[in-house]
Symmetry: C2
Subunit: 268 residues, 2 copies
């Protein structure tokens, strides 16, 4: 059987994409993974298409220098704004997180209402609305920007009154809409999934793009014959700024011990 030891490159503006790294590692434990968190420019969610594209292309170049066999844009904002630019400038196949999440929401919920929770930039791009329309024109989609979710999660507020107030603030309009599925359209959000579910009432399907993207990555590598068949996968993590802080906060996202994080600066 064909064997491909090259790593999968995964990147995000910061920590959130680690939820995807975790799922990919769980599903494909033999694969070597290289993660890049762009902490010198985090967050992307409030920035423009031009700026997010510039940052994403720089990271893709870095990952290509590491000879990756697949690039996963583990960030909804960068997937929404920069996927086509990264695909155009990159030889390796590129996977975003929008399409897997949209597919799941539509397949499990044909014709029903779908709500998308995301950053300001993801909502403004209408990426999920367009992607869902391609799959099923009948699905009604509404988007809700939730700018406080990321800072609250990065501050380690993972339960309690303050978190509930913030969730309630953004979910109040969803209670009227009564969607059949809610897409967690930012890689940080799965961390507070159970609280979102509880506040929504527990019957709504929550689509976690981390799981869906990991499945899509496995499918793509299998189809192209690019899987690594033997051994245990190694994980390498880079951050463009403050690697020690990144390592400390990573625990809020993926649990466990503080991972080793290398610094790689290439701005200016």
């Amino acid at each position: 059987m064909k064997q491909d030891d090259r790593a999968i490159g995964i990147f995000d503006s910061g920590l959130g994409g680690l939820t995807i790294l975790k799922e990919v590692h769980a599903l494909l434990p033999r694969e070597n993974l290289i993660y890049f968190g762009d902490t010198a420019h985090v967050p992307y969610g409030s920035k423009s298409k031009e700026t997010v594209t510039e940052y994403s292309l720089n990271i893709a170049r870095f990952l290509e220098s590491k000879k990756v066999k697949l690039i996963i844009i583990a960030c909804n904002t960068a997937s929404a704004l920069a996927l086509s630019a990264v695909k155009k400038h990159t030889k390796a196949p590129v996977l975003g997180v929008i399409s897997p999440g949209a597919k799941c929401a539509v397949n499990k919920n044909k014709g029903g209402k779908v709500a998308v929770l995301g950053t300001e930039a993801t909502v403004k791009s209408k990426a999920y609305v367009k992607e869902i329309a391609k799959l099923d024109k009948k699905t009604e989609v509404k988007q809700y920007a939730c700018p406080l979710f990321v800072p609250v999660i990065e501050e380690g507020i993972l339960n309690g009154e303050l978190l509930d107030l913030v969730i309630n603030k953004y979910l109040a309009p969803l209670k009227k809409m009564k969607p059949a599925a809610v897409i967690l359209g930012c890689t940080h959000y799965p961390v507070i999934k159970k609280h979102i579910s509880r506040i929504l009432g527990g019957k709504t399907l929550l689509v976690d793009s981390a799981e869906e993207t990991a499945k899509e990555a496995k499918k793509l590598l299998t189809e192209k014959g690019l899987l690594k068949q033997n051994g245990k996968g190694k994980i390498e993590i880079y951050a463009s700024d403050s690697p020690a802080r990144f390592s400390k906060l990573a625990v809020n996202i993926i649990g466990g011990k503080k991972p080793k994080v290398k610094e790689n600066r290439f701005y200016i």
Copy 2:
């Protein structure tokens, strides 16, 4: 009398420094002001000294190209991490926000306890602790990082239960410390000053670096004979990303109508 029409350059990572622009304009209404908000890299508060210095030097170069007669670093994080580097590379005099705030806290409160509220990076730099020690060794200083204040203010949450919970979260240890003065060590914080004061109990002196820095700027320009003596000052605002968003959010900081904001990109 000598007359100097050149503008005062003021910069911040984003919107917060507008509180300083407002005070400088109120105190020196004849002066032309050029404001630069580095929205392509905001926030600075969670980034490293190297990165914040690089961004600050780029902005200082831009302001010098506009022939400013004074640069005000209207950002506590950049003042704490990059003031000496900017001074070294710039011909115009440079004023940070740390020293004016520290002076005020010490002068009005000799020997008493002082609490500093700031971003992670400002707290880590110990800039206020060092500055206060230079002025008065007896003053006891404690620092508290308040990472959620900036995103909450930028989200327009300027009163109510959620804001109170966030303030209470960070101010709980201050209630035990009972400081005589609290320095609002981030240019965003004056926006929620009355709520901080209410939750502290109303007797504590709150030091607003915006007012103090404006006074210091007036003193410096007067001493150097650099004041503009006639006419009405013009305000020019630049942002390195998303000028329309900047203009919209500026209203949360300085009130009034949406200001005109020009775009100036100079990253990579």
